[in-house]
């Protein structure tokens, strides 16, 4: 089975090859194009599955971690090594990404069927998958960063896929720049880690940066602001993860990214890419936890983990609050994603990677399901995205409705049956036992309530009541009635829906198999664990909160289902100020425009002015001065130097003329001169001899 480890590099490389082929063969038919893309990813999926089985079969007492290391190039004096790693974290993430990815690829063949750049779309999707998978297997922070950046590029290309829409081009730009702002923290953290631990390999037989030796060193050194070195580095890398995973205050790009085609939203902005930040944190968990104090706690507490938890809490609440007042079907889901990613961060900070990864995996399934369902709705409604104009789709799109309902219940945390309940419960449970503060726990409960509320609201708007597609623009050309999507789009929905239910059962408190698998601890089935006091009370409370949210939304929005003409949202009627605030996303985008964007713009203008006015002036002054000097020298040259020369020349000429006049040839004159000369000579001699 060791071949699997050796072949693991194929997982990202196969989609990459597919991508290159698709770009270089523009003449291919659509069928051939998507066959290549799906085939490549499917094959990667098979390898991933084999790798997953291998880690399953590993002895639970070991770390089940194997690495392959290669030298890339000589960096200064030391060789730069990169490589890949196979451990439970990698295996489970690979399996999820390839599985969900393949379904989304299949869905795309239906959704994008009429797009003229079909091949290019699959090329970009494959590129994205390649980068994402590369990120997952990498055993080097540098390689991870490289793939991380390529993920960003692919996402840029895909969000801006319909670049003829200015909003799409702007959203792509915003997404890329915002995540890059995060990446720079990541990058600096990486530089710091490289220079202080000497290695960017995670695991390298004891000398990697995530292994005992390096961690001990990093955890014990104190650097600026009294932070442990490991904490400082972790915080920088957390900043990068916050950018990618849409955490406050870097969340602004994610909702705008919904301008991309819906399968892209499902793949990138729900299931995989945005989870990359959480994955990174999970991968670097040993670093974040290094130097923890108070080892008697169940989970370590460090500055970095506390920061992660609170960032996650704020994001979870903020995302949920904003989602309540949105009207675009995809934007609601986008803010919900922001909020759920916050939960994952909370889980990571308080309960370690297993908790976060559990929610990541279940969320990937039900959020991909919801997005694809939304895609199916949009497709069926002929590109309408405003939920106020939908309604009554239950009858027209039965499969979509059923699967969407499952996704909604999973996300809303409907008790016991759905995956989302169990994974959210795990997070709430770990925040409950967290020793630092109970605030995240309460925020988590409020968030859960809001989640249930906004999802139910959306369900009522979209699927119940009468259809309102043609109400607002009756005079313009009417939109044809909604229709169910083709089988190629509904089947992925059904499969994902199955996952959204079943996946929960691998991580219930009664049988925490998933946690045991990630943390390498054997897990046993014990139903009694369900009824331990802490566990049970959290479960009951979160159930009540979820049901309460659903119930309240039912009370609010049920009338809508029957009185479709109602223009004002019931919530808006009751809480107008809050609703306004949430509709405008708490004015955060505007705040950034007025501050950071304006500041950079001003700096740029100032620099430009400096260049144009000051530097240019100086250059101009120097030029003037040189010119001035040139004029002066020219003057002196013409009038003094040259003048003197001319003058002396004139003098010579005059003298010569005078001399020439003497040579007149007249003997009398010669004699006169001789005579007068002699007289003069005599006079001189007399004058000399007198003294």
């Amino acid at each position: 089975m060791d071949q699997i480890l050796q072949l693991l590099w194929l997982v990202p490389v196969l989609p990459l090859i597919a991508s290159v082929i698709l770009v270089s063969r523009p003449g291919w038919s659509r069928r051939r194009a998507h066959s290549v893309a799906i085939g490549a990813l499917g094959f990667s999926g098979i390898i991933s599955l084999l790798a997953f089985m291998k880690t399953l079969g590993a002895d639970p007492a070991t770390t089940a971690r194997e690495v392959v290391t290669v030298t890339w190039f000589q960096m200064g004096v030391a060789p730069l090594q990169i490589g890949w790693v196979l451990d439970p974290l990698t295996a489970v993430m690979l399996t999820m990404v390839t599985f969900v990815g393949t379904l989304i690829f299949i869905f795309s063949t239906g959704y994008m069927a009429s797009d003229e750049r079909y091949r290019l779309f699959f090329a970009y999707l494959s590129l994205f998958a390649a980068a994402m998978l590369g990120m997952i297997i990498s055993n080097s922070l540098l390689l991870l960063f490289i793939c991380w950046e390529l993920v960003g590029v692919a996402s840029y290309l895909l969000i801006g896929f319909w670049a003829h829409k200015p909003s799409a081009a702007a959203a792509a730009k915003k997404a890329f720049i915002t995540t890059r702002i995060g990446d720079i923290g990541f990058f600096i953290g990486m530089l710091w880690l490289a220079s202080s631990s000497g290695s960017l390999l995670f695991f390298d037989n004891g000398s990697g940066c995530l292994e005992e030796n390096a961690l001990g060193l990093l955890g014990s050194q104190v650097t600026i602001l009294g932070l442990a070195l490991s904490t400082a580095i972790s915080l920088l890398i957390l900043w990068g993860a916050m950018g990618k995973s849409g955490q406050f205050p870097l969340h602004v790009w994610l909702p705008d990214a919904m301008e991309g085609p819906t399968p892209v939203s499902a793949l990138i902005h729900a299931a995989t890419m945005v989870a990359a930040g959480v994955f990174l944190m999970a991968r670097l968990y040993p670093l974040m936890a290094a130097g923890a104090t108070g080892t008697d706690d169940a989970f370590p507490v460090t500055g970095a983990l506390i920061a992660t938890t609170f960032v996650g809490s704020i994001t979870a609440l903020l995302g949920a609050l904003i989602a309540v007042a949105q009207t675009d079907i995809k934007r609601i889901l986008a803010y919900s994603t922001v909020s759920q990613l916050g939960y994952m961060m909370m889980g990571l900070g308080t309960g370690g990677p297993a908790v976060a990864m559990f929610h990541l995996i279940t969320h990937a399934f039900f959020k991909a399901l919801l997005f694809l369902g939304a895609g199916s709705v949009i497709h069926g409604c002929h590109d309408v995205q405003d939920i106020r104009r939908m309604g009554g789709l239950k009858g027209a799109m039965p499969v979509t409705f059923a699967t969407y309902a499952i996704g909604m219940l999973a996300l809303a945390g409907f008790p016991l049956l759905f995956a989302g309940f169990w994974s959210k419960d795990a997070i709430l449970h770990s925040t409950h036992t967290w020793s630092v503060s109970h605030l995240p726990y309460w925020i988590g409960l409020i968030g859960a309530f809001l989640t249930a509320f906004y999802m139910t609201r959306q369900m009522f708007y979209v699927f119940f009541g009468g259809n309102r597609l043609n109400e607002s623009e009756a005079e313009s050309h009417p939109v044809p009635p909604p229709h169910e999507s083709p089988a190629v789009m509904t089947w992925p929905l059904i499969i994902l829906a199955a996952g959204a239910v079943l996946l929960g059962f691998i991580g219930t408190p009664a049988f925490p198999w998933f946690q045991g698998y990630i943390d390498r601890a054997p897990s046993t089935l014990s139903l009694s664990a369900l009824f331990e006091s802490g566990t049970l009370s959290v479960m009951i409370l979160s159930s009540l909160v979820g049901l309460g949210g659903i119930g309240l939304a039912y009370l609010f929005y049920r009338p809508i289902a029957f009185r479709p003409n109602q223009q004002v949202d019931p919530l808006q009627r009751r809480l107008p100020r809050f609703f306004d605030l949430a509709t405008h996303r708490f004015w955060i985008d505007e705040l950034y425009d007025k501050t950071i964007v304006a500041a950079v713009g001003a700096l740029a203008l100032v620099s430009d002015l400096i260049d144009r006015k000051i530097v240019h002036r100086i250059v101009e002054c120097v030029r003037r001065a040189v010119q001035g000097i040139a004029w002066v020298t020219r003057f002196t040259d013409e009038h003094l130097v040259n003048g003197a020369f001319d003058r002396s020349c004139d003098g010579f000429r005059w003298g010569a003329r005078q001399g020439a006049r003497l040579q007149s040839g007249q003997t009398q004159r010669y004699l006169k001169i001789v005579g007068s000369s002699l007289v003069g000579l005599v006079l001189v001699l007399i004058w000399i001899s007198r003294s």
Binding site: W72, F73, Q74, M75, G76, V77, L142, F145, I146, C147, E149, L150, V153, G160, A163, H164, P166, A169, A170, K173, F176, I177, R180, I181, I184, F187, I188, L191, W192, A194, S195, V600, G601, L603, A604, L605, S607, D608, D611, V615, H616, V619, R623
Partner: protein, 493 residues
């Protein structure tokens, strides 16, 4: 073999200038052949270069030239020279390809062009400082004519500014050069000899800044950078490619070869100040690029920013930093050439405008898809995306800088973000503009991208990708040279 890079260029220039009845097409062919010969010679040298040898400077040709003054005709190359010689070859080929459309005074154009190339080759392989200086001057003069005759926007101004800056730099270099010669006993101009002479600290303290700044003016050191954008903008495409591609490298290379290796104590004393200027250049160039309306100015200022990384890497004075700096010279050479090729040749020559606002309405992504694709690739490569040469180079520069001055590395990181911003801004505006209301009204079709342009773009993209994915092809040349005794004093102050 090495010397043939220089000889062939000068012979080619002479043929272009003097051969009777040479047609424009013939001239182009001569130029391309010459460029190919130079590149092949460089390539052969790279293969013949013995990486493991103790003697890092190889292919030495030595002839006495003015024996009384110790001036020799001393050519040679180490890994650093070879990297840049290779770059020059590449820039010569692609520059010729992108100048294929020059119709006015074709013969003179290519004569000047090849003279410039010859001078640049000469600088990179001279190990006699006087000879280096002579080649340096040979490289400056044709620039003036290339810009003043075939240029565009304010060409006389740009040409004159560039030449004046260059000569001001040369003057400083010359002063330092003669002082060094005298100080060392006035027996030899050879770097290999001078390096053995221990220059007193007082001397180094003034000689280093004078010569370094003299060279660095040509490398676009802030605040002596303004010649670069105006010069680049005014120049015809082929000349911009050479200017940004290789001429700016002359400055950085000269600074590394002469003041930095000979005056390590001066370097140690002035390092922080120069690094600060380099970092200012990185951020400043990027911010200025952010608000330009002229497409070419964006690229021009981006060059200032990218050359800041070269200087920062040099100032890091560690193996990593220096190898990053040398790699960045190569990388920027390739990418700047590519960007100027897109902007100057593919876009400007067809649309006759460089104004981003005007380009915005033109829907160029649809009408010139190849140009848009090339610019997207070059733009991403330029902003330091992994997979391209810029990433490896900037990574090394920043790792080097991090160890020496962490805060500068952080500020340079901010420069990278602004780099992303201006690239995307220019990219969106120039190619992915909003469809205007008259979108249905078919705009006059633009000439499609020609064969030479495609070949040139593909060559440059291949180069940057190859180095980005497999940097060993250059680093295996560069790193051993940096470990040679010549750079020891520099690395251990």
């Amino acid at each position: 073999m090495l010397s043939w890079t220089v000889y062939s260029s000068f012979i080619g220039a002479a043929v272009c200038a003097l051969w009777p009845n040479l047609s424009p097409t013939g001239t182009r062919r001569v130029a391309l052949t010459t460029a190919l010969i130079g590149f092949l010679a460089a390539l052969v040298c790279c293969f013949q270069y013995d990486v493991d040898s103790e003697q890092t400077v190889q292919f030495i040709t030595e002839k006495a030239w003015v024996p009384s003054l110790g001036i020799g005709y001393l050519l040679g190359a180490d890994g650093i020279s070879l990297t840049l010689v290779l770059l020059t070859g590449l820039a010569a080929i692609t520059g010729t390809l992108f100048s294929w459309n020059i119709e006015t005074r074709t013969r003179e154009f290519f004569a000047f062009f090849l003279t410039l190339i010859g001078g640049v080759y000469g600088v990179f392989i001279s190990f006699d400082l006087f000879l280096l200086f002579v080649f340096y001057e040979i490289a400056i003069i044709p620039k003036y004519f290339l810009i003043a005759i075939w240029g565009s926007t304010r060409r006389e101004y740009g040409a004159m500014k560039l030449v004046l800056y260059s000569f001001a730099g040369s003057a400083l270099v010359l002063i330092g050069l003669l002082a060094t010669f005298v100080e060392a006993g006035a027996t030899s101009f050879s770097v290999l000899e001078l390096i053995k002479h221990p220059f007193p600290r007082d001397f180094q303290l003034w000689a280093f800044p004078v010569t370094f700044i003299g060279f660095a003016i040509l490398a676009g050191l802030w605040p002596f950078h303004t010649w670069a954008p105006t010069g680049h903008v005014a120049a015809p495409t082929g000349a911009s490619m050479l200017l940004a591609g290789v001429v700016m490298k002359l400055g950085a290379y000269g600074a590394l070869r002469f003041p930095m290796t000979l005056f390590p104590m001066g370097l140690a004393a002035w390092r922080d100040e120069i690094a600060l200027l380099a970092v200012i250049g990185i951020v400043y160039g990027a911010t200025v690029a952010l608000v330009q309306r002229d497409f070419k100015f964006v690229i021009g200022y981006s060059s200032v920013s990218h050359m800041g990384f070269v200087l920062l890497g040099l100032m890091a004075t560690s193996e990593v930093g220096l190898s990053g700096a040398v790699l960045q010279m190569f990388s920027h050479g390739v990418l700047a050439s590519l960007l100027f090729a897109v902007v100057g040749r593919m876009v400007y020559a067809r649309t006759h405008t460089k104004d981003l606002t005007e380009l915005e309405a033109m829907q160029l992504a649809r009408r010139l898809p190849f140009a848009a694709g090339t610019f997207v690739v070059a733009g991403f490569a330029g902003m330091g995306m992994p997979g391209f040469s810029g990433f490896i180079a900037e990574l090394q520069v920043l790792i080097g800088a991090w160890n020496t001055f962490p805060s500068f590395a952080v500020v340079a990181g901010i420069g990278i973000i602004i780099g992303v911003t201006y690239t995307l801004r220019a990219m969106t505006k120039a190619f992915f503009g909003e469809a205007s209301e008259f979108a249905d009204d078919p705009a006059p079709p633009l000439t499609s991208i020609t064969g030479p342009e495609k070949i040139g773009a593909v060559l440059l993209i291949t180069a940057t990708t190859l180095v980005g994915l497999y940097p060993r092809i250059l680093l295996d040349l560069i790193v051993p040279s940096l470990n040679s005794p010549m750079f020891k004093p520099l690395l251990e102050p």
